[in-house]
Amino acid sequence: MNEHGPEHEELIERWFTETDAPSASEIERLMDACPMCREQITSMDEVRRSLTAAAELERDVLAEASQLEGRPADGGSSTRDPLRPASTWWRRPSRWVPIAAAALLAITVSVALRLGGAPNPTPPVVPNGIMLGGEVTLTAPIGDVASFDAFSWTAQGSGATFQIEVFDADDLTTPLLTSPVISGRTWTPDATTTLPPSIRWTLTRFDIDGERDGTVSVDARRTNAP
């Protein structure tokens, strides 16, 4: 039994796959008799332990991440919550805008399909605003609305300013309306009757230094188009 060969290999395979598993003493004897088997068993056991440790890490992290869902962002404490360090993780407009655009494109396609298809008793499904890290929420107009008279949003914190751009949902190249940079949470354009029935409006937020720090958009459709 000293020569490393198929018999040894088979014994090792049975040990690791628990198939007619050899006893621990049999394996001990094999390891004593064959240095190659000793090395193989030891290193494979190490791999197995590492896989188990990796699986435990995965379970811990997933459990921890799910336990924290719904926890208040401020955590009731002034110290940093190490598990919520990324409350501003969305802040890099040039990077996340394509994602938001992709999501909104999907929404638009869905709405367009419904509008172009057979009469549908249920209204188009449009998410209730797209949020920026929970700090800005577009509130109106969203989805099917009677008019585009006023644009409104909510935003946490103070000192920020905002600018609105309104696009034809079918042509996002040039804004049809652009607001001045304002500090309020509502904008009432002078004339909205010229807007097409389906629009996409975009809110850009600027920080206290006037630096652009986030953009968010949503689609709306006027149900009583003139």
Partner: protein
Amino acid sequence: MSGSVTNPPPDGGAAEDLRLVRRCLDGDARATAELTQRLECLPRMIAALDRRAGPSLPDADLADLAQDVFILVWDRRDRYEGRARLETWVYRFCLLELMNRRRKIFRRQTLPLGDADPGAPAPPDGPVAEAARLESLLAELGPPAADVVRLRHSGGLTFQQIATHTELPGGTIKGHYYKGLKWLRSRLAEEGGEQS
């Protein structure tokens, strides 16, 4: 025999998640919103992993990373096959990308500017680094062996349960597992040799 290891029948939750992702890919707005909401766990996962990986990265780096991983996951959502729950699938991106980021930062901190020494010291080892190394090797190993190894360890299934789950003979499952274990061992040994 209807199942195969390369395309195991997903469990109930993973099957639901797969339907969600497919609806999102089909342009269903509600599914898109739901998927976006599900991905909100991503920064928490990264932060939880980061805390276990050694000295914490600065908040700005973590925020940056979370955004990169979000974009990566979103771009690759069409590759989600429902082999595991969505969060488990996302976790693997978080793990690998976190370690890539830490490695980059480590190199940046340990090398003089402009010095591209390929023999730069490796970042500190630890359970997260080890898990990332295994995950990366499992991705290289691929199905069916990697699937069986994952089901055995991450899924915590017995060989019999894996056989039932995949509708494959127990012997085949064990063969894949053993092959996977041996392959991992040899690749880890090679990497160890390269490093020393």
